[in-house]
Amino acid sequence: MEILLGMKNISKSFGPVEVLKDVCFDLRPGEVHILAGENGAGKSTLMKIVGGVYPDYTGTIEVKGRPVRFRSVLDAAAAGIAVIHQELSLVGSMSVYENIFLGREVHRKGWVCHVRMRSSARSLLEELGLSIRVDEPVDRLPIGQQQMVEIAKALSYNADILVMDEPTSALTEPEVRKLFDIIARLKQKGCGIIYITHKMEEIYQIADRITVLRDGRYIGTEEAAKLSSDRLVQWMVGREIQQHFPRHQSQPGPVRLEVSDFTVPEPAGGPIPWVNRVSFTVHAGEIVGLAGLQGSGNSHLLHGLFGSYGRRVSGTVRIDGQVMPVINPAQSIRSGLALLTNDRKTTGLILGRDIIENASLASLRRFSPGGWMRPRLETETVSRTLQRLRLKADRLTLPVEALSGGNQQKVVLAKWIQTDPKVLLLDEPTRGVDVGAKHEIYQWMNEWTKAGIAIVLITSEMPELLAMSDRILVMHRGCITAHLTRQQATQEKILQAALGQTLLERTIS
C-alpha cells in the first residue's frame, strides 16, 4: 500500500534530555492513525517535527516516497502537511474568510480581492458541510466552529496530511460528531489524519490504526480492531490498571454546600442569564456531577459561586449552614471554596513562576504571618503536599511551564488542597492529563470526599462523569433540567436533559 508519510528512527534531544528515541511512524492515505501515549510521551514533539517546528532531529522522513527535511513550518505546509494545534491559531477580531486566507490574501493588481476570497471560503466550508457565515468575526463563533474554520484553513492549503492534536478537548458532543463527519469526508478524499487524543471512546470511534509512544520510545502500531482497550492502556502506561474509575462507596454526611435561587446574569445585560435561578445541595463526602453541553452554564455556575464575577450574581450560598457572601475569589477561598478552572494555562497557573510559588499562591497567608514570607515553612509544606500527589519534577524551583500537563494539574490541585477547602469545585480536572495521572486524580477525589470534602465535578467525558458522581445534575441554558441519582443516570438520560428535555426524577432517599 502507498505510504503518505513515513518516519523512521526519529530521535530528538533538548540539550541532554532525549525526548524521542528511534521512533517510527507511517500514515496511509484515507486512514485515521491515532498517536497515543501519556503526557510527556513525546507525541507533541513528534508532531512538531512533522510540522517543521523542530528542524534539528535525526532520522528520515518521507512524504509520498520522497525524502524530505523540513527546515520550517512553511516547508512542511508546502509538502501538504497541516497541523491543527490544541490552541487555535486564528485571529479573533478578523472574519472567517480573512482567517482562512491569512498571509496569502488573493490579490488583483495589488488590491486585496475580498469578493473572490469570500466566495472561495464559502465553497470550502460548504465542501465540509458547514453553515458558517464567512463574514462573522471568528471570536463570535463558538469554539467548536472555530475549530472547523481552522480545519477549513488547513484544507485550503491543499493539505493531504492533517495532524489534529486533541481537537475535541473544547468541543461539545454534537460538535464532536460534526468533526467526525468531516474526518470521514477527508478520509474519502484520500487524506491521512494523525490524531492525538486522551479520550478512550474517541479512539475506538474513529481509529483505523493506533501507534503508542511511551517515554519518547516507540512501543508499537496495531490495527484498532485488533488492539483491545486494556492492552492499549497497558502499552501506554507500561502497567495494568485494573479499574478505570475507582469510585468508592460514598457516605454522605451533613449538607456542606447549599445553593438557592442562584443567578448569574449575562454581562452585556442580555435576556438569557448564564445561570438562571439554580438551587441544589451537596453533602459532605459527596461528589455531585454537573453535566451540560457547551453553553449550558455549568462552568459559569461554578465561577459565579466562587466569586469570579464579583457581586453581579444573586441568590444565597450557604456553607455548613452559614451564609457565604459572594464578593470575590479571595472571600470565597476564606469561606472554604476552591475552584479548579477548566484551563490551567490561562486561569490556573502562573506559567513563568516556579512550582512552589504556584502551589502556595492560594494559601500564601499561612506561609507569611504578618506579611513576611517564611520560605522554609512554605517549601516544607508544599513539597509534602506535592509528594503526596506524586509530582514528578527534578526541582521544585522549575517554572511550571516546564512540566507536562499531568504534573501541571497536580500543582493546581496542590494549590487548592492546601487551602483546606470545604467544597471543591472541579471543572474538567482530568482535561489534557494522561491516563496514569487521571487515575491518580480519581483516587484523590475518593480520598478527599472520605475526609469530608464536598465535590462538584464538571467533566466532558461521559464515562468519567457516570463513574465518579454520586448524583448528577444536568444543566441546559442556565437551568437544571435533570436531577439523577447514581443508579438512575444513564448516558441517554443525561444527553436528553442536556439537550433541554426536563426530567426531574430525583428520588428522595
Binding site: 469570579s308 506579611g371 521544585l396 494549590k415
Partner: protein, 334 residues
Amino acid sequence: MMQTRSSVSLGSWLASPTVRALAALLVVFGLGLLLHADGAFYKWHTHRDMLRAVSVYGILACGMTVVIITAGIDLSVGSVLALVAVLFAMMTIHWQWSWMSAVSLCLLAGIGCGVLSGWLIGPLRIQPFIATLAMMVFARGMAKWVSGGQKISTAVQQPDGTYQYVPVPEIFQMLSAKIFGGNLTVVTLIMLGCIIMTWILLKKLRYGRYLYAVGGNEQAARLSGVPVNAVKILAYGLAGLFSAVAGICQAAQELQGDPEAGGGYELSAIAMVVIGGTTLQGGRGSIWLTLIGILTIGYLEKILSINAVGEDKRLMLTGLIIVAAVLLQKSKRI
C-alpha cells in the same frame, strides 16, 4: 526527586538572566579599562561620581522595576519627580519649614500621585500606558502651576520686585554631601536604601509574591485570591514614593526646584530595568537585575564622558547598547 537541589548545569547557568546581565556590564566595564582616559577610570572618584550621577535615575528604576513586574509601566515618574522637587524647594526655601515635615509631605505627595495612577489602572481598568501618560502630563502641569513656571531657588523675589538670596537650607547640603572621607555621596546611599527596600518587598514579603503573580497571569492570580487591585495600587504607589525620593534628591543636588526637571527620566529608568533583563511582559525580573542595568548605563555614560564623547554620540551609543543588551537576553542559547 523532591528536594530543591541546585544542581544546575553550566548551560542553564549561562542562560540565566543574571549571568547575561552581568556579561553586558562586564563588557561595558572592560571598555572602561581600555578607554581609561589617561588613568581616570582607575581613580575611585570617577566611580563615585558615576554612582552619584546615576542615583536619581536608579531610585526611579526601583519603582519602575516593581511596576514592570506587574506587567505595567509608569511614564509619570519624571513629572512626579519635578512636582516633588518644586514642592520641596518651596517648603524649605520659601516657607522655611522644618526638613522633617517637608520631606514627609513630599513623600506623601508622591505616594498620592502613584496611588491615583494605581486606582485608574486597578479598579478603573485604564491601561497603564494611558493612565500614567495622563499622570505624566498632569503632574508636569501641576509642577508648573505650583511654581508659577519659575525655578524655585534661593534667589527669592521680594515684594518690591528685587531678588534677594536666602541661605541654602541645611537639608540640601545634607543630601548632596559626601561621606566616608568623601568616597561616597548621600544620594548614592539613598539609592542603595531604595534598592534594599525593593528587594525586601519583592523577595521577603507576601506582597512581593502577589506582584509577580499579577504580572505573570492576572486572571489566575485573581482566581487564587490575590487582591489584584490592591497589588496594583501598591505597585504604583511605591513608584510614586520613589519618584518623590528622587525628586527630593534632585532638588538637593541642583539647589533648586525646577518644574522642567526629570524630563525623559522615565525612559532612562525603563532602559535600566530592561537592560537588566526584566521583561516588559511582567511576572519576571528582580531588583538585582535592575542594579546591574543601573551600573551598565552609569558606566557607559561615564566612560563616554571622560573620553569627551559628545552628547550626540553618547545618546546614539546608548540606543545601540539597549538593543544589544535586550537581544542578548532574548537569544535562547549563548
